[in-house]
Subunit: 621 residues, 2 copies
C-alpha cells in the first residue's frame, strides 16, 4: 500500500498529529480500503524519516479513537464500523444540485423568493483588507489591539468546571452574570441605571436593531433616520416595507423640525453619529426628547460607536435623560476585545424585552452561552475599563497622526472635523477625479478608503451637502507607523490623477514675489490661517528670522521655527509642525491674501496677512 | 482607608488576582475616591495575612493597567483619568425606566409592538435542568460528552497567529475552511455532493429555518408541516402569517396525499422525525419527491437530528435523491461537541443561498468567525467522526438501559418504538392522572420528562392519536447509571398517583391459582408474549424447573433462568433479564391468557399459553 503522507516541519501541528490527521483523511475518503492492512509503523517511520515512536503514538491514538483495529500477529486494519454510519445510498455521480448558472433555475428561484434583502449595491471593502498596508477603515480592528491574554484568562475561567454547568441551556435566558456586568459596569458609564428585566443580550448591535425593527415596524410605519446614516439600518427597515424618511443632520446632530412629525420611530446615533462622528448637542437632545414626548414617538438610540469618543467627556446617553418609556437603547461590547466578538444588548421597557427575547429564540434557538460567559468574566476581572483606556490612547495617537498627515499632504481637502473625537476624517476628492476610480487605484496601491455617497439615502441630499465627492478615512485598523506613508501615497495618487487641473502658478496673472519683495512683505507679518480641523492659527514671521505659531481655540498648540529667503523662494522649518521638515515655496500676495506654491507650481496653502506690526518691523535684522 | 477585601482560598482566581479584581471593583464603584491614597502593600498584606509580594504584584499590575498612579515618596493613588471617560451627566437617582409593572406602560407597548413572536404557551424545562439527577430530556447534552481536549486543541490552532488573520471580517463571507470541511466530511456521509456556492453557514438549524421561512413565506403561502412536529418551526412560520397545514404522520413518516396539494412548501424531518423519531421509508420518500415535482412544491429537509440515528445505516438525505432544485437541506454541527456550539448550514440552490446570505447579514452583521474557524479545525483534525462513534456508543448504552428499565417498571406504558434508533421513548400516562401534575411532581423528585401534547398543532389530532396523555423520555442528558433509578422512581410516582385505580386482583372474580394448580397449568407450558418494543417473545417453562426464553424477530435475545412455586406464588429468576432479580407473582389463568400480579395485587404482565407440550410434561420431575 502506498500511502501519501507528507510532513511539514513548519506546520502548527506536530509531526505525530500530522501523521494522524492524514491517516484519518485517507481512511474517511476511502483511499485505504476497509480490510486492507495499514503500513507498519517501522516502515512508515523509515519512509517519513521520523522516529518510530512518533508513528507508533499516532497509530495508538487512531486505535483509541476507533479508526484502526489491531489484529494480533496480523497488523493494523481500518475499522469497518467507522464507515458504517455513512450513508450507503447511491452517492450520485452528478452534482446534487442543478447547475449554478442555469437561467431557468435562476428564474424559478427568483419567483419563489418573497423578499429582497439587499436592494442596493453599495460599497464593500475587499475581504483581504488586512493584507493591505494602509487600511484606513473605520470599524474593523487590527489584531494588535486584541487583549488576547486577558480574553483567554476569562475564557479559562468561564469553562472551568464550576462554571461550565448549564452552558447548553434549554431556554431563552441570557447569561445572568453578563447581564449583571453590563448593568453595573457598562451602563453606569453612560449614565444609565436599569434593572435586569430591562436588558436583553443580542448577537451584536446589528442584531439588536433587527429585532427592534421586526417588532415595531410594518408597512404602515414611518421611520426617521439620519441623513447621512447607516446603510444596514436602512436595508433592515426596507425588509418591513415601512416608509423611510431621511432627516438631515447639521453640526449638532439630527435636525428636529416638523418634517419628522409623521414619524412613529426615530433612529439616532447621538454620541457619535454614524458616519460623520458628530455628537448631538445637549440642546438638540432636549429638543428631540420634547418632540418625541409631544408626538408620542419612540426613539431608538444606537450608542454602539460610543467607546470611540475619546476627546473629552462623552455626553451621557439620551436615555438617561428621563422620559425613558420612549427610548430604546442599543449598544455592544466593543468588537476590538476579541476576534469575532459580537455581543450586543438592548435596554428597554420589559414589555419590549420579553417580545424581543421570544423573537430572538425563534430566530436563533438559544443563545451562545460560552461567548456570553467569557465576556462576563472579562468584565468581572476589570479588564474592560483597562482595555478602553489602552485602546483610546492608541486611537488618539493614530488619529493625531492622521490629522497631521492630512494637514501636511492634503491640507485643502479636509472636510468634516469630528467635533468630539471619533476615528474618521472626511476628505474631499478633487472635482475632476471619479471617486470610484480613485478608490480602486488606491486599493491597488494598498490604500483602503471609503466613499461616503452610499451613506446617503437620497442622492440629491448627497449632492446638496457636497459639491465634490468625498471619501472617509479611519484609524481603527491601521498601524500608527503606516499612517503618514499611506496619506503621502494617497496624496501623490491624487495629484497624478489630477494631472494639470490643480491651481498652479500658471493660472495667476501675477508672478511670484522676488526675494526683495518677499522680505518686504513678510518680515514682521502676522498671518491668520486655519488648521485642517477648523481651528484658528496665527503665525508670526519675525524679522529676526524666527517663526512662532499658535494653533487651537485656546492657542494650546504652539511651535517655534525659522524662516529665510533664497532665490525668490520662501523657506520655513518648524521644530515639530509639518514633521519638522524644511519646505520652500513660491509666494503670491494679492491684497491681504498670501498663497504658497510648491516647487511644481502647485498651490499648497493660503492665509491672510494681518496688518503689519510696525513695532516688529522696526526690529529688522 | 478601610478597604474591604476578602480572600477566598477556594476560588479559581489566585490570591493576587482576587486582590486586583476587588481593588478594581472598589475604584470603579467610587468606593475609593479619586485622590485618596491606597493602603500600602505592607499594611494590606498584614491585614490579609498574605505574602507582601502578592500584594505588590497586584498593585504593579494595577499601575500598568492605569488604575493606580505611583507618586514618589507619597504612595499610590487612584488614577483620575480612569473615571474621566465615564459620563459626568447626572445619573438619575430614580430608575431610568418606568416601573416594570405599570399597567399603563404595558398597554403602551402592547399597542406599539406589531408582531407576537410567541402565541402559544408551551412546555419549558426548568433552566436548572442539569441539577436534576434524572433529566430524561432529549435534545440537550450532559457535560461528560463534550470532547473538551479536542475542541481546545482546535481552538488553539484556530487562533494561532497564522490563522487568526481576518477573523474580524468586514463582509458576509463564511469561513471557507469550514465550508470545505462540511462539504467534504459531513455532506458525503449523507450522500450529498455539493459545491461551495450551494452552502451557507448559520447560527444553528433554527436560524437556518428562520432565514428560509423569511425568504419564502408570506401571508399568501400555504405550508405543510408534520403533525406532530416541531413547535419552534410553527412559531417561526406564524411570524409570516402564512397558512399552516398540519399533515399527519404514520409509521413511514408524513402521509403524502392530496391534502398537501395546495401547499407550496413542505417541511419534513425524514431521517429522524421530530418528535417521534420515525424514519421516513424509502417508498414514502420517493412518493414525496414525485408529488413535489408534480405540484411544483419546495421541500425543506431538516436533517439536524440525524446523527442520533445509531441503529443500522441511516438513509441518505432526501436531497441526495436527485430532483434537487426543489429540496432545501438544513442541518447542523452536533451541539454535543462544545458547550453553546451552534453552527448550522443550508445547502440549496445558489440563488437562495445568496439571498439568505444578505438577509443573514442584515440580521446579525457579520458572522462569528472564531467559532466557525474552531469548528473547521475540529473537523479537519478528524475529531468529528471519532466523536460521533463515541457519542453513539454512549447513547446506545443509555438507550438500552432506558428500554430495559421501562420494560421492567412500566411494561404496559411504552407507546412508540423509534424504528431506527433515536433517543426518545414515548410513554403513556395512566388515564386518571393529569399529566401536568405528574410532570410537576416528577420534577420535584428530580425527574424531568416532557409532555408531547404541544408537539401537535391541533389538539384534536393529539386526542385522535392518543386516548391517553403521553410524555417523552430521552437519554441525551442523563448518565447511564441514573437511568434505572429514575425510571423506578417514576414508576413508583405513577403508582402513588394512580392510587387504587390500577387493575388489581380484587377486580377479578377468580382467585389466584393455588400451588397445586399452578404446577399443573404451568409446568411444561410455552408462553407467547411481547416485549416492550413489540417484538415476539417465547418463554418455555420447563418441567425440570428451568426457564428458557427467546426474544426478538430473529430470536436473537436469549436467556435462561429458573422457576419454582411456593405458597401459591410463582417464582422466577432469569440470568440477565429483569436485571437477574428474583420476582414472585400471583397467577390467574383465564382460557389461554395468563396474568401475573405482584405482591400488592397489582397486574404486572400478561401472556398467552401455547398448547401445552406434552412431551415436556412427561419429563416431570
Amino acid at each position: 500500500m502506498n500511502l501519501l503522507i507528507s510532513l511539514d516541519s513548519k506546520s502548527k501541528l506536530g509531526l505525530q498529529q500530522q501523521i494522524r490527521q492524514q491517516m484519518v483523511a485517507a481512511i474517511l475518503s476511502g483511499s485505504i480500503p476497509v480490510g486492507q492492512r495499514i503500513i507498519s509503523s517501522r516502515k512508515l517511520s523509515e519512509q517519513l524519516q521520523v522516529a518510530r515512536n512518533t508513528v507508533t503514538l499516532a497509530y495508538n491514538q487512531l486505535i483509541d479513537e476507533g479508526y484502526l483495529n489491531s489484529c494480533e500477529r496480523k497488523g493494523l486494519f481500518v475499522n469497518e464500523s467507522i464507515l458504517n454510519d455513512r450513508s450507503t445510498g447511491i452517492v450520485t455521480q452528478h452534482n446534487t444540485f442543478t447547475k449554478i448558472t442555469s437561467p431557468k433555475s435562476k428564474l424559478f428561484w427568483q419567483k419563489k423568493i418573497k423578499i429582497k434583502p439587499n436592494n442596493s449595491n453599495h460599497f464593500h471593502y475587499p475581504s483581504d483588507w488586512d493584507k493591505h498596508p494602509y487600511p484606513f477603515i473605520d470599524g474593523v480592528f487590527d489584531r494588535s489591539l486584541y487583549p488576547v491574554k486577558q480574553w483567554q484568562e476569562a475564557s479559562r475561567l468561564a469553562f472551568s468546571n464550576v462554571n461550565a454547568q448549564n452552558m447548553s441551556s434549554l431556554n431563552e435566558e441570557d447569561d445572568s452574570r453578563l447581564i449583571e456586568e453590563i448593568r453595573t459596569k457598562i451602563l453606569p458609564r453612560r449614565g444609565i441605571k436599569a434593572q435586569r428585566e430591562q436588558i436583553l443580550l443580542t448577537s451584536g448591535s446589528q442584531h439588536a436593531l433587527y429585532l427592534i425593527i421586526q417588532l415595531l415596524c410594518n408597512k404602515k410605519t414611518t421611520v426617521a433616520v439620519e441623513e447621512p446614516g447607516s446603510i444596514s439600518l436602512r436595508n433592515c427597515l426596507k425588509l418591513t416595507e415601512c416608509k423611510i424618511h431621511p432627516q438631515k443632520i447639521d453640526k449638532d446632530g439630527m435636525i428636529i423640525d416638523n418634517r419628522i412629525e409623521p414619524c412613529q420611530l426615530v433612529f439616532v446615533t447621538p454620541s457619535h453619529q454614524n458616519p460623520t462622528a458628530i455628537t448631538m448637542s445637549q440642546q438638540r437632545r432636549e429638543k428631540l426628547m420634547a418632540f418625541a414626548k409631544k408626538y408620542g414617538q419612540l426613539i431608538i438610540e444606537d450608542d454602539s460607536d460610543c467607546e470611540r469618543n475619546y476627546f473629552g467627556n462623552p455626553q451621557p446617553a439620551l436615555c438617561s435623560l428621563g422620559i425613558s418609556n420612549q427610548v430604546i437603547y442599543v449598544s455592544a461590547i466593543p468588537k476590538a476585545i476579541a476576534p469575532g466578538l459580537d455581543v450586543g444588548f438592548i435596554v428597554a421597557n420589559p414589555e419590549l424585552i420579553i417580545q424581543a427575547k421570544h423573537l430572538r429564540q425563534l430566530m436563533l434557538g438559544n443563545s451562545n452561552k460560552s461567548i456570553q460567559r467569557t465576556a462576563a468574566f472579562f468584565l468581572f476581572l476589570g479588564y474592560y475599563d483597562a482595555f478602553l483606556m489602552k485602546a483610546n490612547k492608541i486611537f488618539q495617537r493614530r488619529w493625531n497622526a492622521l490629522r497631521d498627515a492630512l494637514n501636511h499632504y492634503l491640507p485643502n481637502a479636509i472636510l468634516t472635523m469630528p467635533n468630539q473625537g471619533g476615528t474618521a476624517f472626511w476628505v474631499k476628492c478633487p472635482e475632476n477625479i471619479h471617486i470610484k476610480q480613485l478608490i480602486s487605484r488606491a486599493a491597488k496601491q494598498g490604500i483602503l478608503i471609503e466613499p461616503v455617497k452610499d451613506y446617503y439615502y437620497k442622492n440629491k441630499n448627497y449632492k446638496a451637502d457636497h459639491s465634490q465627492a468625498c471619501f472617509r478615512m479611519g484609524v481603527t485598523s491601521i498601524d500608527e507607523s503606516n499612517i503618514r506613508t499611506g496619506v503621502a501615497k494617497l496624496a501623490k495618487l491624487i495629484r497624478e490623477f489630477s494631472g494639470d487641473q490643480n491651481i498652479t502658478l500658471s493660472s495667476y496673472s501675477q508672478q511670484p514675489l522676488d526675494s526683495k519683495n518677499l522680505f518686504k512683505k513678510l518680515a514682521g507679518a502676522t498671518l491668520i490661517c486655519q488648521t485642517v480641523y477648523g481651528e484658528p492659527c496665527q503665525i508670526v514671521i519675525r524679522a529676526d528670522g524666527k517663526l512662532t505659531g499658535h494653533a487651537g481655540f485656546d492657542k494650546q498648540d504652539q511651535d517655534k521655527g525659522r524662516w529665510w529667503i533664497e532665490d525668490g523662494c520662501w523657506f520655513r522649518q518648524w521644530s515639530s509642525w509639518s514633521y519638522g521638515e524644511q519646505a520652500c515655496f513660491f509666494v503670491i500676495i494679492e491684497e491681504q491674501q498670501i498663497s504658497w506654491f510648491n516647487q511644481n507650481g502647485r498651490l499648497v496653502d493660503t492665509a491672510i496677512i494681518q496688518t503689519v506690526d510696525y513695532t516688529q518691523k522696526n526690529q529688522l535684522v
